[in-house]
Symmetry: C2
Subunit: 222 residues, 2 copies
DNA sequence: GTCTATAAGCAGATAGAC
DNA sequence: GTCTATCTGCTTATAGAC
């Protein structure tokens, strides 16, 4: 006898509209929000658990420690940035400065999109530990990419090149926190403004508006 | 009988070569160092007291709370910056951009001279409390000064002006932490490099090297 | 003003039942 | 995998002698 009437008359359950995040993902999301808002040391594992809808002790089935949560978060956030940066290195510059513009825009967008304070953590004392070596390593590689993108644009000594790359990084990271405050502003405009500023900052002989427009259009090809 | 042989044959004790800092000053110095190095929440009052050469409980004879120490520190650091900024506002620009250059240089020097992380604290969650309202207020006034120094340099909309001022602030604050890492670099050169970068960043039509040299020399008159 | 002693609470992490 | 219960240690801050 066919069992066709045992099959449900309605459509079988499909994925709910909101993705059914695993408990682990729920914890990461909660931690990202709280670490950003209140800072890492000030956020208790109890608060993270509560927001994730589980008990404090259950955290330790998914993560070895509080540090482990932070490290996972940081690595996951920095990874796309580095991937994009590496891709840019393999692409020729359509217009001189276009790749730099694109990378700064990408990074700033990453930072302002909800996790600004989190990425700003790279300069926090907590991240000095062994557990975060991989994260710091990634940040160093970012600095190298910036140097390689800037080098063809300006005749600079090695020291000046390093310095200017660090200035761009400082601008990106320093602006992230700032951007959150000015929520009044069109938040979408901030990453592009930072990218413009970075290009002007790097250009020793100035970067007039028309050349900047050229760079912007070149960056759209990347 | 004269007691002349009771008086010491050597010179009477004079003030020791290192200034005899009061206990309060000692605490502030210790806290500045530790808050900068390890972060505010991670620094215990015990550690501050130990470094200051007193017991933990004795702190509370000089300060009402741990927050009180931080607030005192922050206000003391930001005050000279604001004083200098206000003075600049009362002085005409010898060369367009000279005042901006001078202020950025001053602020960056303040930040890199040992207390970088401390000033970077302004964007930390801890400083959101009522106790730190005065500090936040000061920072806002700094932003206003930057706007007023930038406004005469470029024809900008109100929104763009605000944005560019925030970018300069972000650059200054973001670079501070960075500068510490590159101790290899001539640390003295960093503030001037940041000032150069700020001027280039602001200039919409570019700032060639010769004009920058002019600005630098103009800033020396301030 | 500095000390000893201690209060009162909360942190991160673990044990073990279900 | 999630829970309840709890351990252990450390935190800021206070009380009160000297």
């Amino acid at each position: 006898m066919p069992s066709h009437d045992l099959s449900p008359p309605v459509a079988p359950p499909v994925a709910p509209p909101v993705a059914p995040r695993s408990a682990r993902a729920e914890v990461l999301a909660a931690a990202a929000e709280l670490f950003s808002r209140d800072g890492y040391p000030a956020t208790t594992t109890r608060a993270v658990a509560e927001r994730a809808g589980i008990r404090q002790s259950t955290l330790y089935h998914h993560f070895a420690s509080k540090d482990d949560i932070l490290a996972t978060l940081l690595e996951g956030i920095v990874a796309p940035s580095l991937a994009y940066a590496q891709r840019l290195l393999d692409t020729p510059d359509p217009v001189p400065g276009a790749r730099l513009w694109a990378l700064v825009r990408f990074d700033t967008e990453l930072l302002v999109s909800g996790l600004s304070n989190l990425v700003a953590l790279h300069q926090l004392p907590e991240v000095r530990g062994e557990r975060f070596a991989a994260f710091r390593e990634t940040r160093c590689r970012k600095a190298v990419v910036y140097r390689e993108l800037i080098a063809p644009l300006e005749p600079l000594t090695e020291a000046d090149l390093r310095l200017r790359a660090e200035l761009v990084l400082g601008l990106v990271e320093g602006t992230a926190a700032v951007a959150r405050e000015c929520a009044e502003q069109d938040a979408a405009a901030v990453p592009e403004a930072v990218a413009d500023a970075a290009v002007r900052l790097v250009a020793g002989n100035g970067c007039p508006a028309d050349r900047l427009a050229l760079i912007r259009s070149g960056a759209r090809l990347l």
